[in-house]
């Protein structure tokens, strides 16, 4: 069923417009970041990743930007489609020493308006 998501920030965009979803991460030592998309009733799906030695990476209709100075990550979706409606999470890897750990952000709900 549908997650209530009462506490999720929501971004509403018109179909065809570009979407920008932002994420602030917590640890300046994080060296790997992932954006996930979670549709209602499903588990998170990988969208795109970026390492800390990059500031931009492009995929199909998606671009991730990394600003390490202000610890900020953004996901840009070009020509947003109804199928893009979902909750989007960023995740940072916080243990470059080798022990695997990810911290997930609270998520942003993207609503695509027809």
């Amino acid at each position: 069923g549908e997650s209530v998501g009462l506490h999720l920030p929501t971004l509403s965009v018109q179909e065809g417009d570009n979407s920008i979803i932002n994420c602030a991460y917590s640890n300046s030592a994080s060296d790997y970041f992932i954006w996930y998309k979670q549709e209602s009733g499903k588990g998170p799906q990988f969208i795109i990743d970026i390492r800390s030695n990059m500031d931009k990476r492009q995929g199909q209709r998606v671009t991730v930007l990394l600003n390490k100075t202000v610890k900020h990550l953004s996901l840009q979706i070009a020509a947003t489609q109804p199928g893009d409606s979902a909750v989007y999470f960023c995740a940072e890897n916080i243990s470059p020493s080798g022990t695997y750990k990810y911290i997930f952000g609270t998520g942003t709900r993207l609503k695509v308006l027809a």
Partner: protein
């Protein structure tokens, strides 16, 4: 589409019951994880495993336990369910060997647990 499966999808159960949430993956991944997610909230790691006979506790304290007897199977057990355990439980796996810092997590569809 990742081949990782969770059963049941939904479970409603009374307080005090013992439950096991199943998670299986057919990708041969060594690393597997359990996350807990409340509605509208972030994912919290509760257990993970680097391979057979390896289990570790995650960041969020949990009364659940896990086992990893086979590579493909990572069940989570609650000995005595309570209403505070009501949540969504997500299983994930990744293919990297040993601890690594650039690996993708593949998630199952989750089990929505409601304890009455």
């Amino acid at each position: 589409e990742a081949d990782i499966y969770q059963t049941p999808r939904y479970l409603v159960i009374g307080t005090g019951k013992k439950i096991t949430l199943e998670c299986s993956q057919t990708m041969g991944h060594d690393k597997m994880y359990w996350y807990q997610q409340d509605p509208g909230m972030e994912l919290h790691l509760i257990h993970y495993s680097y391979g057979v006979n390896s289990t570790e506790k995650g960041d969020l304290s949990s009364e659940s336990t896990v086992s990893r007897i086979r590579t493909e199977h990572f069940p989570l057990t609650l000995e005595s369910a309570r209403p505070s355990h009501t949540s969504q439980y997500l299983c994930a796996s990744s293919e990297s060997k040993a601890p690594a810092t650039n690996e993708k997590l593949f998630f199952g569809s989750g089990t929505q647990l409601s304890v009455l």
